[in-house]
């Protein structure tokens, strides 16, 4: 017997409706029966999927805390373990995704009237402005804010927690540093690497969005067109790094931390190029959701976790996870990186406010420029 039923010819859905109404009220009962059976099954399935709760209460903290983050899973795993030791009584869970992905998710949740997270550690600082305006954030005042070397919200709605740097990277085992672009400008305009470059997608990645915003301010929208002509591949950092390893790409635009991680963990030879026209420095915020919007209404735990991340101990963990510290009290750079102060001497600034207001335009124009064949 083939795939298709010969009853198909009656494509008109009206016929179902007729049949449906003809049989009438009996159906309604059966339908509700089916529905309830399904819902029971569904909730059973759902219940088996949920995590077990802890109920110890020393430190006065307890309950769950859901954190949405754009950090890579290796980083999360390391930090998650430390957090478990520091806050044994709080059940902290991470949910990861690109910043753009998370933004879409939060937008959908916002429409539905309830967010799924208690805290956010996404990459795009401009998003903090938006969330503050939406009225979903919980102000948290910390005692050591004056130690922060970067801007923070004076009302306590968000603090920078980690520094990510957008840089270039290459593989010295396959190419010579002199034969490839050493600046963001050449990355888009050097014909020697046409078709051999890669960067992240501003649609899903917050740092990529900040990057194209900064590059647009510096070089204009023509920069996007140039990237398109250069046949830049749009993919995540980990994919790009693999392509650098295999030699499929010659130079990539990537977060410094991804390269450092690869160097330390895989003993990789891949090297960072701090672009000669300036590094793009992105201080990623940490934010908490207020009780009206958060699922677990656990602001005490959120405050404690925020304070921990901004403490020397927390920053030490951030640096261990290959990102730069935001605290002037802990200036040690991550493994194999140059000091933060060195990087800050030559940067391309990002206008956060304009990144926020131009977000859709930036994404659309970028996509139009690079997605064309």
């Amino acid at each position: 017997m083939g795939y298709v039923s010969d009853g198909f010819v009656c494509l008109c859905i009206t016929r179902f409706l007729k049949t449906y109404f003809a049989i009438g009220s009996v159906i309604m009962k059966k339908l509700s029966l089916v529905l309830s059976v399904l819902l029971v099954l569904g909730s059973f399935a759902f219940a088996t999927g949920s995590a077990e709760k802890q109920d110890a209460t020393d430190q006065g903290l307890s309950g769950k805390l859901m954190i949405y983050t754009s950090m890579y899973d290796d980083v999360i795993e390391a930090i998650d373990e430390t957090l478990e030791e520091v806050f044994p009584t709080v059940d902290i869970e991470f949910f990861y995704g690109g910043t753009g992905t998370l933004q879409a998710k939060i937008a959908a949740e916002f429409t539905a009237g309830k967010l799924g997270c208690d805290m956010l550690m996404v990459a795009d600082p401009s998003y903090a402005f938006e969330l503050k305006e939406m009225g979903v954030l919980q102000p948290i005042m910390i005692s050591n804010a004056s130690d922060l070397a970067f801007d923070y919200d004076k009302e306590g709605y968000w603090y920078p927690v980690r520094i990510s740097n957008m840089v270039l990277a290459y593989n010295p085992e396959k190419v010579n540093k002199a034969d490839i672009p050493n600046s963001f400008y050449d990355f888009a305009y050097d014909p020697r690497v046409a078709g051999l470059i890669s960067m992240s997608n501003p649609l899903t990645s917050g740092t990529a969005l900040d990057t194209i915003s900064a590059l647009k301010d510096k070089y204009g929208y023509e920069y996007f067109t140039a990237l398109g002509k250069q046949k830049v591949k749009i993919e995540s950092g980990s994919v790009a790094l693999t392509k650098l390893e295999t030699g499929e790409c010659k130079v990539i635009m990537i977060l410094e931390e991804s390269v450092l991680q690869k160097r330390e963990m895989d003993k990789s030879k891949i090297e960072v190029i701090y672009p000669t026209d300036g590094t793009i420095v992105i201080p990623s915020p940490i934010m908490s959701i207020n009780d009206q919007w958060s699922p677990n209404k656990n602001s005490a735990a959120a405050k404690a976790v925020t304070e921990w991340f901004l403490s020397e101990e927390g920053q030490k963990n951030i640096v261990k996870a290959w990102m730069h510290s935001v605290s002037s009290k802990y200036p040690t750079p991550p493994y194999d990186a140059i000091p933060t102060q060195e990087i800050l001497k030559n940067t391309i600034p990002v206008d956060w406010q304009s990144t926020l207001s131009l977000r859709n335009e930036l994404r659309t124009r970028f996509e139009e420029a690079v997605a064309k064949k």
Binding site: V4, G7, F8, L31, S43, F46, D74, D80, A104, A112
Partner: protein, 571 residues
């Protein structure tokens, strides 16, 4: 099995029923599909035209005047059409060689090709982007050296590359459909042809092929819909080469997160649905009526064609095919999972690690996603098989009025692109109409059932139709009750088909990606989504380890079932 106990005895004369219980089953199934399939799809179309409360073609204008979307439409149709053509061109001879000839090792080959159905298709994309990338792909390099070419012969990030990967990972849909039909074909016609003096080739051409035509069309359709609505392969192979398809565009639009994005996604989805429905309609309209001709009532064993002197060369050809299409990609993925630096040789000790394997068994998110997938796939397959069995009984053993309605709806459901089903469910099942199951596993299970139930139904139907009702009648005449004869006669005969049907639903649900990408939530990430995220976001070696683990599980289960059913289990 409970499935059949639910079925009441056949209506006999003299007995009085106020309400034929068969209708109840039809109503339940129709009701389920009406609520979760038909109405959401209608709402989707409605939303595309009434995005701001009143009728408007604005969204259509915006979406279809945007050049990128147009090229995505063209790309989708081109890639799906060619994958369909090549897929059938591969599947038919393979099914014939493996099912009807004395090819060496045909049982092994059959398992190998069927197993491809059971692995996530995007795993193929992972392998081929490594093997055939234009700069350093090892297969490209080897060919270049072998034939002294000045540049790499293939570029995987192209339309050709996309079609290649889509074909090699979706042809099993056609292979399964065609070989199933071929194996139950009435051999007497072929015998008659041979007796009348035709040789094997003429018989194949004039008898087998025409008789198989409806199944071939059905198979082609399956490949077309699957390839046209795939997300994983185009996003890994197509997008880096600036080749977007409707599905990648739809998911991009959803990810933009704005209301406008959602409207644009809806509008594009309507197009995809329309194409799928037209194809479904045309193929049924032209060929659907002929499909029952090939089925013989008697249990038959098709005769085996002697390949003669072609036996060895054809076996070599099939081996080569299996090597290129199945073995090499799988081995590539498996090797990636233990390689530290993919740019260096795997044959050096410091470049080998089992860290990624350790990771997949220890990472919390991977474990919980695996559990979610297991729960939802088992539930979907079990409920799906329940529906399939009841439908099979209705279709084959009764002539109750209206039995074609649920059959039709199930067919339409599976013919609807996954991304469309998911989008329709998101929009209609998040509380707007009194049902809010968004962000639960329930919505996944329902989506999986709508999309994959039909593979199970067709398997059970075809098994049941091969069993002559005279056996059941004999049992009942001898005094056995309806239930007893079901249990003792029918059930043992169709048991392998039930197992196979369950698996045909379970496997694609277990690693489903496209629908899960849209339907997942914090607590309901699935294995397919997790694997895809690892491949495209975190770490490709971990993704490879996960994919290889899935492969092992699939092979293992297949082997186990084969043992348990005494070799009768086959898909």
């Amino acid at each position: 099995m409970q499935v059949l106990k639910l079925r009441p005895p056949l209506l006999r004369e003299g007995q009085k029923w106020y309400f034929d219980p068969k209708w109840l089953i039809i109503i339940v199934i129709v009701g389920f599909l009406l609520i979760f399939q038909v109405l959401p799809l209608i709402y989707l179309v409605y939303r595309a035209f009434f995005s701001e409360g009143k009728f408007s073609l604005q969204a259509f204008k915006r979406v279809y005047t945007y050049p990128l979307n147009w090229s995505a439409l063209v790309n989708t149709i081109v890639s799906a059409t060619f994958s369909m053509i090549f897929g059938v061109l591969i599947a038919f001879p393979l099914a014939w060689l493996v099912g009807r000839t004395n090819l060496y090792g045909k049982k092994f080959f059959r398992t190998l090709f069927v197993v491809t159905y059971m692995v996530p298709p995007y795993v193929g994309a992972m392998a081929w982007m490594r093997l055939l990338n234009p700069t350093v792909g090892p297969m490209n390099m080897a060919l270049q050296k072998l034939f002294h070419l000045s540049q790499a012969p293939f570029n995987i990030y192209s339309m050709g590359g996309l079609i290649w990967v889509l074909t090699t990972f979706y042809y099993p849909y056609a292979f399964i459909t065609i070989s199933r039909a071929m194996e139950k074909m009435d051999p007497s016609l072929e015998e008659a042809s041979r007796i009348s003096g035709a040789n094997s080739w003429t018989t194949l051409r004039t008898i087998t092929l025409p008789m198989m035509l409806p199944s071939i069309v059905a198979a082609a359709l399956l490949v077309f819909i699957a390839a046209g609505s795939a997300y994983g392969i185009p996003s890994i192979i197509g997008v880096p080469g600036q080749i977007h398809t409707v599905t990648t565009r739809i998911i991009d639009f959803v990810y933009i997160g704005s209301q406008e994005g959602l409207t644009d996604a809806t509008t594009l989805a309507v197009f995809l649905m329309l194409v799928a429905n037209i194809v479904l309609y045309l193929s049924t309209f032209t060929l659907g009526k002929r499909q029952y001709i090939t089925v013989s009532g008697k249990s038959t064993r098709p005769n085996i064609v002697d390949l003669g002197r072609w036996r060895l060369p054809l076996t070599v050809a099939v081996t080569l095919f299996a090597l290129v299409v199945v073995i090499i990609p799988f081995v590539t993925v498996a090797l990636s999972s233990i390689t530290v630096n993919l740019g260096n040789s795997i044959f050096s000790l410091e470049n080998i690690t089992f860290r990624y394997w350790e990771r997949i068994f220890t990472r919390k998110s991977i474990l919980s996603s695996a559990r979610n997938s297991l729960v939802s796939a088992v539930t979907a397959a079990t409920l799906g098989l329940l529906v399939s069995s009841m439908m099979a009984y209705l279709l084959v053993r009764t002539d109750v009025k209206g039995k074609k309605i649920p059959d039709f709806m199930i067919t339409v459901g599976s013919g609807t692109p996954s991304v469309v089903i998911a989008l329709a469910l998101i929009m209609s099942m998040s509380g707007k109409f009194g049902i809010n199951i968004y962000n639960t596993l329930t919505i996944m299970i329902i989506a999986y059932m709508i999309k994959y139930m039909m593979m199970g139904m067709r398997t059970v139907v075809s098994a049941l139709s091969q069993i002559s009702p005279s056996l059941e009648e004999a049992s009942q005449i001898s005094g056995a009750s309806w239930l007893k004869s079901m249990k003792n006669v029918t059930l043992p005969l169709i048991a392998p088909a039930l197992v196979a049907g369950w698996f045909l639903i379970f496997m694609p649900c277990f690693y489903e990606l496209t629908m899960s990408t849209l339907l997942y939530s914090t607590n309901t990430k699935t294995l397919g989504y997790e694997l895809y995220t690892y491949q495209t976001y975190h770490n490709q070696q971990t993704a490879s380890a996960l994919a290889t683990a899935i492969l092992f599980i699939v092979f293992g289960i297949n082997w186990l079932l084969n043992k348990l059913t005494g070799g009768e289990f086959s898909i």
